[in-house]
Assembly symmetry: C2
């Protein structure tokens, strides 16, 4: 018998539990059967995860009397597309699932975003369970109900808000995750400390090695991150205000992902976020909002775990500052030369800054490219 | 200056107005600008409607200072598909519309269902305005927030609930509608009387000719229908109960549409519903739930306006009763040989019957095929 930590996402009639602990895959069947009696299931997963973890959850469903159909998609960001969405939707319908049956996402953020979208539109909304298998998905993408796919016009531009009924974060499945993917997810974990939980950031500085090693500290870190995300989501489900704080490091990060052509051999999302968070803290110091001590502390921690913090850490060269600024302006509305950024007054004191002059950003990028 | 009737759909923070009257197309710009200041617009329409009515609404938007982009799709049910959805989504993004800009559906139920779905998923939900141009769309599909497309597995199986911010039902645009399409929409109008508004059914019996001719009576009929639909939607937005009453005539109707291969030269949706309503009343009499007088009165009225009421009214022949029953069972869950139907105890006394034995349906269909 394993015990799991439980975090409740408080969204009234859409409220749900996040369970965090080892061996939850083995318990998936009973947890789902208890909450969705009589439901049949479609398990969406990618090729990598299927090879490692699909059999475990299939057995667990079977033991709980849940009829399950596995639907495989190729691993990688390219699966967040209209053609793959249509394939998944068709496979769910071919399995003759009804509105009260359940779609299970077994995988990282890609599988989660794609399956959640499919669950949100088949029969105008089916029940949905997240079983995140990357650290990024456990601390971020599986919680909060944002789902979606990419188009030629940009990432995540098409999707729905569709909250899961349950999130099962099995911390043991992260043992098979490539170290680089683990580090990328760790960057998003650090983010919550930097937004508004300075003690959590300090705790990570002291305990990160045990988080990487597994066990108790890992579960604690994931639970803290989920609690932080759940708080923000409960306050602002549809991102009309506060939820934008979760974009700390992401404005720079997204621009870098675009500038490297979303080539994951050069930069994965979490690495972009790590550099983005370092830049946001440096930029805040430059604008005299925060002390240089803060950005030094942030960079030191990110580097300690092996994450990049500088533009020059990205292999293969970057375009000039003007072009980077264009990437930044692309997915934001630039109103009269001003940009919205998440900036900070110190560790755990982030805020939404709506009138950052584009000229300041440009000058800062020029200097950053030299570092 | 024209006056319009206003009906409010009471859905709390998602509440909206339905305006009904002549010349509303000319007023679209000012009505939208008043409710969504600063929004830019994408107008989705089909080739037939574009030729007749697009210029009018474009001029009206322009006069109100609203920047608009027209997006055309082919006319017909085949546009409710994944490929056309992707085209529309891409065109909305290419026009660089943001979350608070607006998608306008100018057309019948096909354009409304498709555009509403696109509006519901671009940037996880954009504002949406319905400008229904068929009678069916004005009395039914434009109100209530159901959107969606078809797949090989069936009609309307993929979509979202996404309420419009405003519905503009210009009763004058119906003057260009082919008479057969007008009659089809009239069947759905009659439906509201048969569900729970016996006085409305009696009023239609007395005034249908003026409804067809246009003017005051047409506006009254559309307003009554919208009020009826708005009531049901406000009570049960996501069809977990009561809203199923709106399916009166549709279980038989959908089976007939499927049995004729969705060939609109043989049967359009509203004609299927007309036959379906007649059959539902006959079947109720056969089950001793209602008096034969009722089905005779229903059939007499539908025939008076030129709608079909019998299986033999469909040109080209039908499959046997077993096959029809299979079509009926296909989109319903058949639990232990029982089916859910909307049946009636008399004009305006419809109810949801959950345990209709499949054997009774089969015997009834066999007899109906002989008539
Ligand atoms: N919805 C949200 O709120 C939200 C938030 C953040 C990120 N995202 C999205 O998440 C996606 C990134 O997610 P990700 O980083 O998890 O990427 P991913 O899903 O592509 O997973 C990364 C890689 O790890 C593999 N993998 C997954 N679990 C594994 C395991 N246990 N063992 C071994 N290999 C495993 C996958 O097959 C893949 O190759 C992006 O598309 C991003 O837009 C969404
Ligand atoms: N969302 C809902 O709640 C709901 C309810 C009922 C029906 N529907 C859907 O509605 C669709 C049927 O809608 P419909 O009957 O309006 O079909 P439609 O949209 O195909 O329109 C019928 C025909 O009339 C033409 N047309 C439209 N307006 C015209 C005008 N003013 N003048 C001349 N021609 C015009 C169209 O180009 C088309 O050829 C179906 O797909 C059905 O599933 C949805
Ligand atoms: Zn992120
Ligand atoms: Zn209908």
């Amino acid at each position: 018998m394993t015990t799991a930590r439980t975090i409740r996402v408080g969204l009234e009639e859409r409220a749900y539990d996040i369970l965090i602990g080892r061996n939850l895959l083995e318990r998936a069947g009973q947890e789902i059967a208890a909450r969705m009696p009589g439901a049949r299931a479609a398990i969406i997963t990618d090729a990598n995860v299927a090879a490692l973890h699909l059999a475990t959850i299939e057995e667990s469903l079977k033991a709980a009397g849940i009829q399950g159909t596995a639907i495989r998609v190729p691993a990688g960001e390219q699966s967040k597309s209209f053609p793959v969405l249509e394939t998944v939707v068709d496979a769910i319908l071919a399995a003759r699932l009804e509105r009260r049956d359940v779609v299970i996402a077994l995988g990282g953020g890609v599988v989660g975003d794609l399956s959640g979208f499919a669950a949100g539109i088949v029969r105008r909304g089916m029940d949905f369970v997240q079983v995140p298998t990357t650290l990024l998905a456990q601390v971020d993408s599986s919680v909060g109900g944002k789902t979606g796919i990419n188009t030629a016009h940009g990432k995540n531009l098409v999707g729905v808000f569709h909250q899961p009924k349950l999130v099962l974060a099995d911390t043991g499945v992260l043992d098979t995750l490539p170290p680089r993917e683990f580090r990328a997810g760790y960057a998003e974990t650090v983010k919550y400390g930097l937004i508004d939980r300075p003690e959590f950031f300090a705790w990570l500085e002291a305990n990160w090695q045990e988080v990487f090693a597994g066990g108790e500290a890992r579960e604690h870190a994931i639970a803290e991150a989920c609690r932080a995300k759940a708080d923000v989501v409960a306050r602002d489900e549809r991102e009309s205000g506060d939820r934008a704080l979760l974009n700390l490091g992401h404005t720079f990060g997204h621009a870098l992902e675009a500038a490297t052509g979303y080539d994951s051999s050069r930069l994965v999302h979490g690495e972009g976020v790590a550099i983005g968070m370092a830049l946001a803290h440096r930029f805040s110091a430059r604008l005299n909002l925060a002390s240089p001590d803060d950005y030094q502390r942030v960079e030191a921690h990110l580097r300690a775990v092996g994450l990049p913090t500088k533009l020059s850490d990205i292999p293969g060269g970057l375009p000039g500052a003007d072009r980077l600024l264009e990437y930044i302006a692309q997915d934001k509305k630039v109103s009269r030369g001003a940009l919205t950024f998440i900036l900070t007054r110190g560790i755990g004191q982030s805020f939404i800054a709506k009138d950052v002059p584009a000229s300041e950003v440009l000058a800062f990028l020029e200097d950053s490219l030299k570092q």
